[in-house]
């Protein structure tokens, strides 16, 4: 963000640099930074420190700003009583598989639609994009019925990670994003590879994929966060305590667990996505705005 070289916006730079404009600008900036910090970081601070308070302290009026007698025991209890290690491992396992399945199958499909152009390719793409218009809640019941008794095969996928992995492959947003990126790769490169006798798979592997790292990164990050944030679908298809995801596990325990322990568990469950965000924030934000379609 160059300080002054940006394009002209609502208010001209000159106006913001002179006398009254400058004073207003700096006042407003200070106020906004303070208010945003309070509004968006404040609750997180409250969450992390609140979970450190004892049962009596959290019920105290007025609430204390700092935990008077920090109880790391709440976090330890959350970790042990809810078996968070197991829940986090499950979620991590589902997220990794989701990334792999989406990268392999969605990339192959987008490559085919963009470069190999099979017959009916456009019709198939249209049918895929049409699913973006169907709200997830409308499909939840028939999808569940399908998963407990797969058509033709008659396999029950309950408690199987495939019940999370395979439906996530049917992600028109990913295919759209990938296809648009592949469309921007010049045909000449493809033609050159063909002349050199490269098979389509070889071309994808050696030419297209190395050029597509940024978009593959975006798809992977979205896949991980989608699994980490999802709630209802994993709740339905992973019913046993051994296969639950972390959000579902915390929800299942929330009824009979002291609230500070539940919040401590919520903090731990949120750490992975927050860390991913802080590391990859540039990729995430650019991916969001290039796609700008996700509902």
């Amino acid at each position: 963000m160059a300080q002054d070289s940006g394009t002209r916006t609502l208010i001209s730079h000159a106006q913001l640099r002179r006398g009254r404009g400058k004073a207003i600008y700096w006042t407003l900036l200070t106020v906004v930074v303070a208010v945003f910090t309070l509004v968006f970081l404040g609750p997180l601070y409250w969450m992390v420190t609140g979970a450190l308070k004892s049962g009596q302290e959290i019920a105290q009026t007025p609430p204390t700003l700092f935990p008077a007698d920090p109880q790391p025991q709440n976090y330890v209890d959350a970790w042990n009583n809810l078996d968070l290690a197991k829940l986090l491992f499950n979620t991590f396992y589902y997220a990794t598989g989701a990334v792999l399945f989406q990268l392999v199958l969605d990339t192959a499909a987008a490559y085919s639609l963009s470069k190999l152009r099979p017959v009916f390719g456009n019709a198939i793409l249209g049918l895929m994009l049409a699913t973006l218009m169907i709200p997830a809640m409308v499909l939840i019941v028939p999808q569940y019925v399908t998963v407990i008794d797969l058509p033709i095969l008659h396999i029950n996928l309950l408690d199987s990670p495939f019940a999370i992995w395979l439906p996530l492959v049917a992600n028109a947003f990913n295919i759209f994003l990938l296809k648009r990126f592949f469309d921007s790769i010049p045909e000449d490169l493809m033609a050159a590879a063909l002349v050199d006798g490269a098979t389509p798979l070889r071309t994808l592997w050696s030419i297209i994929l190395p050029m597509s790292r940024p978009i593959l990164g975006v798809v992977s990050i979205f896949a991980v966060t989608a699994v980490w944030k999802d709630f209802l679908w994993p709740k339905l298809v992973m019913p046993s305590p051994e296969t639950r995801t972390v959000s579902v596990g915390i929800y299942a325990f929330a009824g009979g667990t002291p609230m500070n322990v539940v919040v401590a568990a919520s903090v731990i469950a949120a750490i992975p996505t927050v860390v991913i965000f802080l590391i990859f924030q540039r990729n995430i934000m650019s991916g969001l705005t290039t796609g700008s379609l996700k509902g």
């Binding site: 963000m1 300080q3 002209r8 916006t9 609502l10 001209s12 730079h13 900036l29 906004v32 930074v33 910090t37 968006f40 609750p43 997180l44 009026t61 007025p62 609430p63 199958l105 969605d106 192959a108 190999l116 152009r117 099979p118 049918l127 699913t131 218009m133 169907i134 997830a136 939840i140 019941v141 028939p142 999808q143 569940y144 399908t146 058509p151 395979l166 439906p167 492959v169 295919i175 389509p200 994808l204 944030k229 209802l232 959000s247 915390i250 929330a254 539940v262 919040v263 919520s266 903090v267 469950a269 949120a270 996505t273 927050v274 934000m285 969001l288 705005t289 700008s292 379609l293 509902g295």
Partner: protein
């Protein structure tokens, strides 16, 4: 594929060989390419077929059937009649519409003006963006437990009540008061979700040519007039698209009532259509009724989509 000649000669003359191998020319070549193309496509297409396209049709079929003791039979509109007569049906729609409208007023207008404000700043831009987007990255269940236990605590030990008390404002019962249930859910939901809208608006704002603002200013247009006459028309398509996406998302209100209000909430004030689908499908052993309610929801949302398509098509 039995080419024994050197690669060079194949490249020079692939076609003259055609009398012996007609498959190498025109159509044959195309079929081979298509086979590869389809092979690459098949995995994703199967997933779409099994988990998207088929369930869509199955949902409609199921809504006209009833399965009892393993026997499935056609029952016409029975499921629809039963679901409409559920005592919570109209309450759920009323609540869902109320949430959608309130979320539109708060969660749609606020991010736009936040984006306009952020776009004017030359400092702390990265920091402010990260702050706004941070809640989007939290698992919703985590964020909602924070709201449920700490922010919406109805005693004066709760965060919001403590703030209200410090400001000498009346405190609230939050989720235990039927009047406050919806505003409280909108507040939590907006806090969790507004980040993506802000970032999308910011990207759209950066595409507005600066000359337009300059010209407007020369014509004597003040800040508000510039927003109305330049910013809004220039971002109209994105504004409409996000309105549409937000309506579709908020109409599916589910996890907020489930976690904040334990489902129905005080005096049924939190029951949403999606929650009713969940109740019928997974607690009342009425998957067919739930499918019928899903189809009703699809029709209502298709109505919104049609209105959106008309709105965007008219002026282009």
């Amino acid at each position: 594929m039995a080419i024994t000649t050197a690669p060079g000669s194949v490249r020079e003359a692939p076609r003259p060989a055609s009398p012996a191998r007609p498959a190498r020319t025109g159509l044959g070549r195309k079929v081979r390419d298509n086979l590869t193309g389809h092979a690459f496509l098949i995995g994703a297409v199967l997933c779409f077929a099994v988990f998207s396209w088929y369930p869509m049709i199955r949902g409609i079929v199921m809504s006209f059937q009833r399965t009892r003791r393993g026997v499935t039979s056609w029952v016409g509109w029975d499921n629809y009649i039963r679901i409409v007569n559920d005592p919570s049906f109209w309450t759920a729609w009323k609540n869902t519409f109320y949430f959608t409208v309130l979320a539109l007023v708060v969660g749609y207008v606020v991010p736009f003006f936040v984006a306009i404000l952020l776009n004017e700043f030359r400092h702390a831009r990265g920091y402010l963006r990260i702050l706004v987007y941070l809640p989007v990255m939290l698992p919703p269940a985590s964020a909602l437990f924070l709201f449920k236990f700490y922010a919406y605590d109805p005693s004066e030990a709760g965060l919001f009540n403590a703030i209200l008390k410090a400001l000498h404002l009346p405190t609230s019962q939050w989720m235990q008061s039927p009047e406050m249930t919806m505003p409280a859910m909108v507040l939590a939901s907006t806090w969790m979700n507004m980040g993506s809208a802000v970032l999308i608006y910011l990207a759209a704002l950066q595409n507005i040519p600066g000359e337009l603002y300059e010209a407007a200013e020369l014509d004597g247009a003040g800040i508000w007039r510039r927003i109305v006459n330049v910013t809004i028309p220039q971002t109209r398509l994105i504004l409409l698209l996000l309105a549409m996406l937000q309506i579709v998302a908020t109409m599916q209100l589910f996890i907020e009532p489930l976690i904040l209000a334990n489902g129905a909430g005080a005096e049924d004030s939190a029951t949403s259509v999606a929650y009713l689908i969940y109740q019928h499908g997974f607690f009342q052993n009425d998957l067919n009724g739930a499918a019928a309610l899903g189809v009703i929801m699809l029709v209502v949302l298709a109505g919104f989509s049609a209105a959106y398509a008309r709105l965007t098509a008219k002026q282009d």
